[in-house]
Symmetry: C2
Subunit: 203 residues, 2 copies
Amino acid sequence: MDKYLIRHTEEDILKAAKEVFLEKGMEGARMQEIADKAKINKALLHYYFRSKEKLFRHIFENLLRNVFQPIKNSINQKDDIFVFIETFVDNYTRVLSQNPNLPNFIINEINRNPDRIRELIDPTKLDKNFIQHLIDKSVKSGKIHPVSAEHLLIDMLGMCVFPILSRPIVEYFLFENQSDQYHNFLSERNRHIVDLLTRALTL
Amino acid sequence: MDKYLIRHTEEDILKAAKEVFLEKGMEGARMQEIADKAKINKALLHYYFRSKEKLFRHIFENLLRNVFQPIKNSINQKDDIFVFIETFVDNYTRVLSQNPNLPNFIINEINRNPDRIRELIDPTKLDKNFIQHLIDKSVKSGKIHPVSAEHLLIDMLGMCVFPILSRPIVEYFLFENQSDQYHNFLSERNRHIVDLLTRALTL
DNA sequence: AATTAATTAAACCAATTAGTTAAACTAAAT
DNA sequence: ATTTAGTTTAACTAATTGGTTTAATTAATT
């Protein structure tokens, strides 16, 4: 008998809120939809998280870490620029394939309220100087063309993120809405990006 | 004496609506804000464009052309892959610098209502086969590495669009919110992208 | 001068939605 | 057995917003 049933209301709410916020953004999300998805009612939702704003911040701050952590992970303890690029691109494409709504969500919310970005200075501060040193070292030893760390970072991010961000457009214009073709394209993508950058950098 | 003053109410509305829709999107835009910006009142706004939806479609369809036209222009009448790349990247970075809100707007609206993309099939149908032929020709004559037209297109778009799309993030993490540094970075960008792709493709 | 079109002001309607409240109920803890 | 925390139902408030209406005003057309 289910005399003692285990509840996970708070988790259920967070899971539901994450899904709804990721899909609709802060303004598009509806508290009623979150409550429905968590299979509770609106009153209880407010009982746990007093306001939409408080719930949103909770979700948002957690998600932000997911975006910037893989970048940090790629930077630490790598001492070769090609290893760094491969690690970065692989980490990033993996994170993105698991959270395809994340980039659009982050971009929208930060555009809507750019100040919010300052809340996470330290936790994810990425050391672009470290990358620049990696580059400079390889340039000096005559292995690669010179390039600025900023451009290289944006190149990698742009090539990884863009096809996710613009999926409906890409799927429609490039693959006649055949999602299997789109997914196949995505699965080739990290290999393609790493190869492209390798050839572009190698002297 | 200003006995006969010239009115351009319709243009004023369209200009105001374009600005507001680009900045806030369909859902975020407020009819009152559009009316205020056009210096008329809400009643007159509805007198010209019966509903928000009708006004939005008017603006949206015009804007879409701005995004896809430069791609088409780059494709026509080019018979060298490097000329194509340079034209494409130059055209695109120019369009973007003039309309920095455009990519985010398009991506959001198409995600919100993917069916709308079908409204503009023919007008902007881009011939990826043409690009593939350009590539194949250069591959056969031993000038470049093989690459798929799809990957190359997304590479160019991603590298051009991403720094615009994620301006607040880039400006903050890479340039400590110094917009002059950000703009300087942007101005180097098309040169950088063309050089990178050229080196990556050249055998 | 008289008619028509463009414009304003202000009140209003209906729908949506975040958030509240109060009363009742149920499961868990003591 | 009683208290406490968790949960539901349902009605409600207040604010926002797209859209309408009506009457009055101003400009353009004839």
